[in-house]
């Protein structure tokens, strides 16, 4: 009886959403806030957070997660004088919703019979991602314009220009991937990466079929999520905090959480599109492998790659300075755009010539 209810597609989808968001995206995003502080401390010869404790137990700073959450909840939710109330109040959640929605089409492991480890495998596939990331622009723009603060306005303007521009290159950089695997459907792209070149030597991962596409897409995604070195919209040294300058308490936390959820989203998208998704390379050589072991290995592989790319983005942030806003735009329109167009054309010719 219970199983029947669970297997109703709509119910199943909701359960999957809950599981993926509550057990994968949100925890990883939250833990990353701590990991970033710890990792950056390691890079910078510091100790990092280690003070919050319960009866002397610090758990290497894990309790800071609880402390930060509690602090944000009890902080006053301020609103500046002259702010546009409704827009000001809803703005923080656009980014968060967009970040979480990315996970709807990402498969965490291969299907077992009819059951898929993916909320939905819709036909437009990645076009859905583009649509959703466009939505997250509204978060920054509304926060910037409704705060009645000049610094926030500058930040919101920068954010909107940057995010709208980089969407273009994001789409163009992925055209090569669509052509190589002949589909926009995520499961199709993931399965396409399970083929091999030269017998069983090299898996046809996106990073090997589309190396330039990988670099361009990764760059565009980091810019799209406004992470360093593309964090001019926040510009904490010149425009203080940019578009979320006036926020406090949980609304401010929503912006922070959105950033880290987007970080995980970027990492899992990169894993899915360019590193074979959940497919463990050369696993097909092991004949008659039990299904449960395969699934666990796939979940592990996906998680390891995702965490690796999260780490990579954090490492990037603490190693390089940030671009000035006009340099970000120049990089996009003058370098990434011609490169991604060239990548698309070359890919098309290669496919035409060699099938």
């Amino acid at each position: 009886m219970l199983l029947e209810i669970i297997m109703i597609p709509a119910v199943l989808a909701i359960i999957k959403i809950m599981v993926i968001i509550l057990l994968f995206a949100m925890p990883l995003g939250t833990v990353l806030t701590l990991m970033e502080r710890k990792w950056s401390a390691m890079i910078q010869d510091r100790v990092g957070p280690n003070r919050a404790n319960i009866g002397g137990f610090t758990g290497h700073g894990v309790l800071h997660l609880a402390a930060d959450g509690l602090k944000s909840m009890f902080k006053e939710d301020t609103m500046p004088k002259g702010a546009d109330g409704f827009l000001y109040l809803i703005a923080p959640f656009f980014g968060l919703i967009a970040g979480v929605a990315t996970f709807a089409i990402i498969p965490l492991a291969g299907p077992i019979g009819n059951f898929t480890f993916q909320v939905t495998d819709i036909e437009p596939g990645l076009l859905f991602i583009f649509a959703i990331t466009s939505l997250s622009v509204y978060g920054a723009v509304l926060a910037g314009t409704s705060s009645n603060s000049k610094f926030a306005l500058l930040g919101g303007t920068r954010a909107s220009a940057q995010m709208i521009s980089y969407e273009v290159f994001m789409g163009l950089a992925l055209m090569g991937v669509f052509m190589v695997y002949g589909t926009t459907r995520v499961s199709g792209i993931v399965d396409g990466q399970n083929e091999y070149w030269f017998g069983n030597l090299i898996p046809m991962w996106g990073v090997f079929t589309q190396p330039l596409g990988f670099v361009l897409f990764f760059t565009a995604l980091i810019a799209e999520t406004k992470r360093a070195p593309f964090d001019a919209p926040e510009g904490e040294s010149e425009i203080v905090a940019g578009y979320f300058l006036e926020y406090s308490g949980m609304r401010w936390s929503a912006f922070m959480l959105a950033e880290y959820v987007a970080l995980v989203g970027v990492a899992s998208l990169i894993t899915t599109l360019f590193f074979g998704g959940y497919h463990v390379p050369w696993l097909h050589l092991w004949e008659n492998a039990p299904q449960w072991i395969v699934t666990i290995l796939q979940l592990l592989k996906f998680s390891i790659f995702t965490v690796f790319f999260c780490w990579f983005q954090i490492q990037l942030r603490w190693t390089v300075p940030k671009f000035r806003f006009d340099q970000t735009m120049a990089l996009g329109w003058k370098k990434l755009l011609p490169l991604s167009l060239a990548n698309m054309i070359v890919t098309a010719f290669v496919i035409l010539a060699f099938g």
Binding site: Q44, S237, T319, P321, K322, R324, F325
Partner: protein, 408 residues
């Protein structure tokens, strides 16, 4: 929607009376703002992101150093000088003491002078480390900043070893220093310099050839030689423009003429040149310290002239001259001969000069300090107009405004 008139402020008329169009937005950068190291306000007029005008407003840290000095004994002014350029307090101590010595017409013993050179160069290094670290941090290279602060910590421990304090050093006296080199100081110094060189080469690899960093600072805030001279620039910013003016060479004081070092110069005076000049000056200062430590002579660290320092206790209680000297020094203070004097030394930011007027009494008639960063801050509008708002950060960072020194 938001009331746009609140965001787009009304037409502004800046101090020069120039009328900007209605599309200009004025933002207040400072007095409390992440990029303002000291406390200063820049009312910045923006056309989009482009800076079209800027009005600096200084004075938030005015403490009345000069007026306060007129009501103090000469020796009581030394602790006040700690608070001038609080990133390199020893240089201020040295500058003021040398000015008073010039007024007296005496010189400190050679051992005191070599010790002063070592401590002064340590202070110059900490000044440059702080400035470069802050520039890097504000354009996003936070790691670089913390590595430099780590290096500064090595040096401040030396300062603490020598003076007993990290910032409020109060270390020099007229005709010498408060104390001699502590035991083992020179070997500690050698250890710390090795560590400092490690950090320097690490940071060099991290940032100096980083494309993003170069893009951010190259051709930002360029300043011609003529403009720099007309604004009265001194120090690293003037040298970045290509003029090799350094008080240590132009008007050698202390024992700098016995030491071998070079004056690095830039070419176009942009923020990248300023960065490179300061990096090279740190290396030159390390060379100076090493030479001074090698040549460190034996001898007294304090002059033995009467009425310059408190006599030993055995003299105070043992003979009448000692007792009288002690009484007069406590009751009347040092009494330099009447006259006026200007004594420039090379501070962290440039020429730091003390202009002293004495009437032969225990209180100075006038104490005036030439703050090197005053002229630099005055040139902020000239340097920033035409750049983007994000360029304020490296430009103002490389100006290295120190509130205590600027506002006195």
């Amino acid at each position: 929607m938001t009331d746009m008139s609140a965001i787009q402020s009304q037409t502004d008329v800046n101090s020069s009376g120039e009328d900007f169009s209605a599309s200009v937005m004025s933002i207040e950068i400072g007095p409390a703002h992440p990029a303002m190291h000291g406390i200063v306000r820049f009312t910045t007029h923006l056309d989009g992101e482009l800076i079209v005008g800027m009005d600096p407003e200084i004075g938030y840290l005015h403490r009345g150093f000069e007026k306060e000095s007129e009501n103090s004994k000469w020796i009581q002014i030394i602790p006040y000088t700690d608070r001038l350029n609080y990133v390199s307090p020893l240089l201020n101590n040295i500058g003021f003491s040398m000015a008073v010595e010039k007024l007296y017409g005496i010189e400190a013993p050679r051992r005191a002078e070599f010790t002063r050179v070592i401590m002064g160069e340590i202070s110059r290094i900490t000044d440059h480390l702080t400035c470069l670290g802050a520039v890097a941090m504000e354009i996003g290279a936070f790691t670089f900043f913390l590595w430099f602060i780590k290096a500064r910590e090595y040096l401040w421990e030396l300062v603490e070893e020598m003076t007993g304090a990290r910032l409020t050093t109060n270390w020099t006296r007229f005709g010498g220093n408060a104390n001699d080199l502590p035991d083992g100081f020179l070997s500690d110094l050698a250890d710390r310099l090795v560590k400092l060189k490690d950090v320097m080469s690490e940071c060099d690899k991290l940032l100096t050839r980083n494309k993003i960093f170069i893009d951010r600072v190259k051709d930002v805030g360029s300043f011609s030689k003529e403009d720099a001279l007309s604004f009265g620039f001194t120090g690293p910013l003037l040298r970045a423009c290509g003029i090799p003016y350094d008080v240590r060479r132009a008007d050698p004081y202390s024992v700098y003429d016995e030491l071998d070092f070079e004056i690095p110069v830039g070419s176009v005076g942009d923020c990248f040149d300023r960065f490179l000049v300061r990096m090279e000056e740190i290396r030159q200062s390390i060379l100076i310290i090493e030479q001074a430590a090698d040549k460190m002579p034996e001898g007294p660290f304090m002059t033995d002239e009467r009425m310059m320092h408190y006599p030993d206790k055995k003299d105070v209680y043992g003979n009448i001259e000692g007792l009288i000297d002690h009484f007069k020094l406590v009751m009347e203070g040092h009494q330099p001969p009447a006259g006026e004097i200007y004594m420039p030394v090379e501070g962290g930011n440039g020429e730091m000069g003390f202009y002293l007027v004495s009437d032969g009494g225990g209180d100075p008639v006038r104490v005036r300090m030439r703050p090197p960063c005053f002229n630099l801050v005055a040139a902020m509008p000239a340097m920033t107009v035409g750049h983007y708002v994000a360029d304020i950060v490296p430009i103002f960072g490389s100006v290295n405004m120190i509130g205590g020194e600027l506002d006195r």
